[in-house]
Symmetry: C2
């Protein structure tokens, strides 16, 4: 079995995902926000590459059923209901709603996974839930690819650190698992920061940018382990919560 | 000033290199081989993306003046004079010759640097010489981009580790230098392996592949710090040695 990491949602080759279980990580903030939305009762999150696609899709749906969400350069999109702060996706706002979402990095990675056996959205905020799912998949013989979405098509330290935590713990006590060099590097980054996700965010360019732009609350929630314990799976072009409530 | 790292010679954006001093790292083995060739008296190394280009160019030159060199999937190219093992590029073979070279990863990165202020080829084997040049450039106000060529368009641990050593030491005792997340990650990898370049190669997929394919001697020479103390600069589409002998 293999556990490999790919840096950059735009760098995914078909062979990186074909037949594999794929975890998409965009810690700051799309992965965390998606977990928050589903944990708080959103029916589904539908990712789009562009804000135009979000608007177009919303026209074919009952307006009261949907929320338009996303960001460009960290800021909310004009005319949209929500930005990309997990704190906005509270139960009273999102429960029962379908969220049409576009973000700079995370949604691009998610829609780039054609051919994958299963796609899951991973972050610190839903760490243990997704880890359990990935471990089960690996034990069942699946190969895993973890995609670090990154920022503006660049390597992002916080995504790599989070990926490293998954790599280390998904392979723990399993023999016969090979990892690629990127996975190895991620594990080193996670080991360096250990439990201190805040220090990881302080070291990351994106973390500092968000802090300086007034999103310190977002950093706090994105670094809160298991704050939103859901397994968001991407299937039939939408992300829903894996589990008994999925068919609701 | 900035010191940034880019993972992947095929991922270089014009803005990554425009006006910057750019160091290209392909430790295993193109960077090391180029340093060996120039240290042993080759007149120049001319990098090409494809073996067809090498053959075509050789036809316009005096056959006794040139050597055709390169590899595909680690192995020498049929009909070429040399492969990509630094050990082949001895003084009696290369002195006075122009080397027409194509490799899987390194030469692609080198030819992808249009717009750079200066391009230098870096490895462990010419570490101190290139470090001195980069430090002088940074002190002079230049921004630096270090490109990790990688392997088959994937992140390679050995290139990142070598880049990390440059990042750490080029910025040492300088204030006002910003580094990107990739540079930060590289520095962590270098710190993990420290002086043990052999252990870094053992941890890297490419290092293990080369070892298993019978290239253990190459690994030894590629990990030998300052074995070929030259500064190879890429200018006017050829790589020559910076220094008093350059005009020879």
């Amino acid at each position: 079995m293999r556990v490999d990491v790919v840096f950059g949602g735009d760098k995914i080759a078909p062979s990186d995902v074909a037949g594999r279980v794929v975890a998409i990580i965009d810690v700051l903030r799309a992965s965390t926000t998606i977990a928050a939305a589903l944990a708080n009762g959103a029916r589904a999150v539908i990712p789009f590459e562009t804000s135009e696609e979000v608007v177009n899709r919303s026209k074919s749906l009952e307006r009261s059923d949907v929320l338009l969400a996303g960001e460009r350069k960290m800021l909310p999109i004009s005319g949209f209901d929500l930005g990309n702060s997990p704190n906005e996706f509270t139960r009273d706002v999102v429960e029962g709603k379908t969220i049409l979402m576009t973000t700079t990095n995370g949604t691009l990675a998610i829609v780039n996974t054609a051919g994958a056996r299963e796609v899951v959205v991973a972050s610190y905020a839903n760490y243990s839930a997704v880890l359990a799912m990935l471990r089960a998949a690996l034990r069942g013989g699946a190969d895993i690819t973890i995609v670090c979405a990154g920022r503006d098509r660049q390597f992002a330290l916080e995504d790599a650190g989070c990926a490293g935590r998954y790599v280390t713990n998904v392979t723990k006590r399993l023999t016969n698992v090979s990892i690629n060099d990127a996975a190895h590097a991620c594990a080193l980054i996670d080991r360096r920061y250990g439990e201190s996700i805040n220090r990881l965010f302080e070291a990351s360019e994106h973390g500092r940018l968000l802090g300086n732009a007034g999103f310190a609350d977002d950093l706090a929630i994105c670094g809160q382990l298991d704050a939103f314990p859901v397994i968001p799976v991407y299937q039939d072009r939408q992300i829903t919560k894996l589990g008994p409530e999925r068919e609701r």
